[in-house]
């Protein structure tokens, strides 16, 4: 084998830089995210001057007393900032999970909810609400924990159903996910009907939102997001190879089955944690990875970090619109993500005729 390398080296000396690599994209996206965080924290339904916002944040970060009003302090530090950061974390998590799902399934319609994460969390939380479980236990959101368990259980159920003779083909897996989701949704509908007095609460959860964000929500999601982000990023190159037909991916040396399980589990865990806290926020996990792909191409080593950064920026801006456009009222953030994200995505589709989805 050494010989082929030798001949080959002689023949291919002129090739070196990885084609199409644009290293500036990640710092640019990070800068954009930072700008979105600053904007999101500065603007809100409560009229607080930007310099006071800055003083509040600096005061807390540096541990100084910068003479800010108590109302401004509560609003900025306890309500607005955690909400902005939660929007960023959830948006980023959904987007990179969505990218991983799309990569694993080689299916442009895949999103982090494909295997029943959303409906599973919804069913479990609905059951908890109807059963009258305490929503908060010892200052910790019991409801989120229940939803998380439901989401993970649904994915595992879909996976174990789809697994035949140690292997689960993507089509079977998708169908199993659809079936499990349908069962969950039927369960939700049934519970809503038999328990009318709770349906408003259930409905609001299903619509998804960030209105009751707290620092504790961030702490709940962050470990899963970080772990999943790390695991999935390490698989960037393998995700590229997984874009080959399954048989070919195996022939070049990828243990398709195992890689798939690891990626799906990681992405599902992170999405489950996000869904359990904020409810179903649609569109982010589906569209952001596609938008990024249209901008920078299909290489997952760029796609994953840029999806995370882009998804975070996108949801922060969407939530900013959601809480300011009909101030003091709110618009469900899912409405904004579809309404703002849809046209932007269509613009990208048109601009880039060479569709590479």
């Amino acid at each position: 084998m050494a010989e082929i390398a030798d001949t080959v080296t002689a023949a291919g000396e002129r090739s070196l830089p990885r084609p199409g690599f644009r290293p500036a994209a990640v710092p640019l996206a990070a800068a954009l995210l930072l700008a979105c965080v600053v904007l999101g924290t500065s603007v809100g339904p409560a009229a607080i001057a930007p310099d006071e916002v800055l003083r509040v944040v600096l005061g807390h970060v540096l541990g100084l007393d910068l003479a800010v009003g108590p109302v401004a302090d509560s609003i900025v530090w306890q309500i607005r900032l955690p909400r902005v950061l939660l929007a960023g974390l959830v948006g980023g998590t959904l987007a990179f999970s969505g990218a991983a799902y799309q990569g694993v399934f080689r299916n442009p319609l895949a999103d982090p909810y494909l295997l029943g994460v959303a409906s599973g969390a919804g069913f479990a939380e609905t059951a908890a609400i109807v059963a009258g479980l305490p929503l908060v236990f010892a200052g910790f959101s019991l409801l989120s924990l229940v939803g998380f368990a439901g989401a993970v259980a649904s994915v595992l159920l879909a996976y174990s159903i789809a697994r035949v003779a140690g292997r689960a083909s993507s089509t079977t897996l998708i169908l199993a996910g659809v079936a499990v989701s349908a069962i969950n949704v039927a369960g939700i509908s049934y519970l809503m009907i038999v328990s009318n007095e709770n349906s408003l609460e259930i409905l609001n959860w299903l619509l998804g939102g960030l209105n009751s964000s707290a620092w504790s929500d961030l702490r709940f999601i962050l470990p899963y997001s970080l772990a999943a982000g790390l695991i999935i990023s390490l698989h960037g190159r393998l995700l590229n190879v997984l874009q080959l037909p399954e048989l070919e991916a195996r022939q070049v040396g990828v243990d398709v089955e195992r890689t798939r399980v690891v990626l799906l589990l990681a992405a599902s865990l992170a999405a489950a944690a996000a869904v359990a806290v904020t409810g179903v926020i649609g569109f982010v996990g589906l569209i952001v990875p596609h938008a990024v792909r249209l901008l920078v191409g299909p290489d997952y080593r760029r796609l994953l970090p840029l999806s995370a950064l882009g998804g975070a920026s996108f949801l922060i801006v969407a939530d900013l619109i959601a809480r300011t456009v009909v101030s003091p009222g709110e618009v469900p953030v899912g409405v904004v993500t579809a309404f703002v994200g849809g046209p932007f995505f269509l613009y990208l589709l048109r601009r880039r005729r060479r569709l590479t989805i």
Binding site: V8, A11, R14, L16, L234, R250, Q251, T356
Partner: protein, 259 residues
Amino acid sequence: MLSVRDLHAAYDERPVLRGVDLDVGAGEVVGLVGPNGCGKTTLLRAINRSLPLKGGRVCLDEADVTALSVRELARRVAVVPQNAEPPAGFSALEAVVMGRTAHLGFFAQEGAADYRLAAAALAMVGVADLRDRRVEELSGGERQKVVIARALAQEAPLLLLDEPTANLDIGQQVAVARLLRELAAAKGFAVLAAIHDLTLASFYCDRLALMAEGQIVASGAPAAVLTRENIARVYGLDAVVLRRPFLAGPAVLPLSEEV
């Protein structure tokens, strides 16, 4: 290099391979010929473990393929599947460098050496100029060559090809066939290729294995396998087998019905 013994395989309960024995040595090009549905593709898949076996053994040198991990197998066997589709959006070079997967650490990235190897593989199949083109913009023949280049970049001592020349014009067919010969001769690769075109197979293969209904019914030098009787028996076709000094091997020409 490759030895297949009494191999059986089935799709569901329908047997497709019924006791196949086959050897391919280092530096040897073996052509797998036979009518559609005789089990050529199945045999190639069974050899690289893409298909569960019902019986028999496949050994690479001394190692049973069932004992190898996916990565170990990919380092020993490279495959050019029929109608391969490199993933859209990637450049030809990126598609070829995916062939390096089995040689890279699990989370390692490709280095400059891998890209050099990939570029050289493209050059070897004669499409060095395609390296930065997106694979979905390539013609069927160009794509086929990119997939062959990927298999070369895999640096495996056994090369399995399923109809590698199917999408190519006659000039390209010959170019690919010659390349396979050169690789076998120069690098000691063992090459096993399923080929429909009997004449092309006869010109460029050291040996042919003629399959029918899941079994190898004749094997040996092309002149010994490609007889009028064998072709009539296996293909149900009356053909003349033309032997001329200026041809690299026997040429198979179907007879017109009126004769």
